[in-house]
Symmetry: C2
Subunit: 225 residues, 2 copies
């Protein structure tokens, strides 16, 4: 194999699976995560689950209650607003820096990521998973060049949480807009325009997502959770 083995630990497997399931909304917001129950489902011991939950609690993807277990975080309109606002702050900063550090390979990676995104339709149930991945990769590609692994990681954390809001809201009838032209315009601005213009497009892109879900809250569809 050309591949460095980097064999994964059982606990890490559970961590990855749980992480994905929470982000995908397979566990409802607010739901209690019983260790024994999860251990049973995945067929592993309780310590592996405990360790996975501990890791997830450090990224705020699960809440930890000392002596009382773990739960999926609830969702709330105020939290959603602050999440999106913070994301705009950090991603525009990252985008500015990335554009200031412009390189050919960075630009090429963006073009490629957009092309790959164009292959999938977000309104087709079979392709939605692929679309989500490609979408995420496109946005990551825009920032990749910002020069700070720290900032990239923070943006990633926020993106994961935002994805959870989006995917949870699908279950309540939120329709995903296609938005290919939006991404195309964003790319053009990033490659050929000013940083200010590109950042504006990025912000309004996220604001649309914000408002789509804001409506669901205001209609009371995401109440309980």
């Amino acid at each position: 194999m050309a591949k460095v083995s980097e064999k994964t630990t059982l606990s890490t497997t559970v961590y990855q699976k749980l992480r994905g399931d929470i982000i995908k909304g397979e566990f409802r917001p607010g739901e209690k995560l019983r260790i024994e129950s999860i251990a049973g489902i995945y067929g592993v011991g309780s310590n592996a689950v405990r360790e996975a939950l501990s890791r997830l609690s450090a990224e705020r993807l699960v809440e930890r209650y000392e002596q009382r277990g773990f739960a999926v975080p609830a969702i709330a309109l105020d939290d959603w607003r602050i999440l999106v606002r913070t994301r705009c702050w950090l991603e525009t900063k990252a985008l500015e820096e990335a554009m200031a550090n412009r390189t050919e390979s960075w630009e090429e990676a963006i073009v490629l990521a957009l092309h790959r995104l164009s292959r999938f339709r977000s309104d087709d149930a079979d392709e939605r998973g692929n679309w989500e991945d490609a979408h995420r990769n496109f946005h990551r590609a825009l920032l990749a060049n910002c020069g700070s692994p720290w900032l990239l990681e923070f943006c990633d954390v926020l993106a994961d949480h935002a994805t959870r809001y989006v995917l949870v809201s699908h279950a309540y009838g939120n329709k995903k807009r296609q938005g290919f032209s939006e991404h195309e315009a964003l790319m053009k601005a990033v490659l050929h325009g000013t940083a200010e213009h590109a950042c504006d497009l990025l912000k309004s892109h996220y604001m649309k997502t914000f408002e789509n879900i804001e409506v669901l809250f205001k209609d009371g569809l995401l109440e309980h959770s």
Copy 2:
């Protein structure tokens, strides 16, 4: 009861202790963290240690190597530079927002935090711990009002890592500058000046810390780690 007990778990105790010890530089950068050994020192089972290390790895305070255990992250000049740069980006954003949301209680908390900081001398070994805490609290107070728990948390993470660089460097002869007047000027700018001026002071404050430690790297004092 008016008080929710919130009793802490053994694993959390270990987590807190380890976290402090790593930040204080009691473990050398790059040092391997053997589970059995730590479990022995703290007198707990290996699972509690494993869980604590897992949590710490999620905040990048320890590195995880699948199947091969954990280690304290190494230090390096490039990492230090990027850490400080990122910190400047995030903290200036947070400070701008905090100043835009100005409230009386926020201003009062800053005044109080500076007063408390003035009680300690950073060059007295007995008081250094107190000074570090007060210093941290002062900087936290400046940003507290920024309106985003996410941004505050990210700033906190960066501050913890920066503190590790500072405290590790003490072991190699870095002298802590007192800098009370620097903090006083910063406070005045935050309370009475423009955001731009306050952010400039904040950045130059961090740049001085950066350069103090940069010198140690250039002199080869922090080589190995």
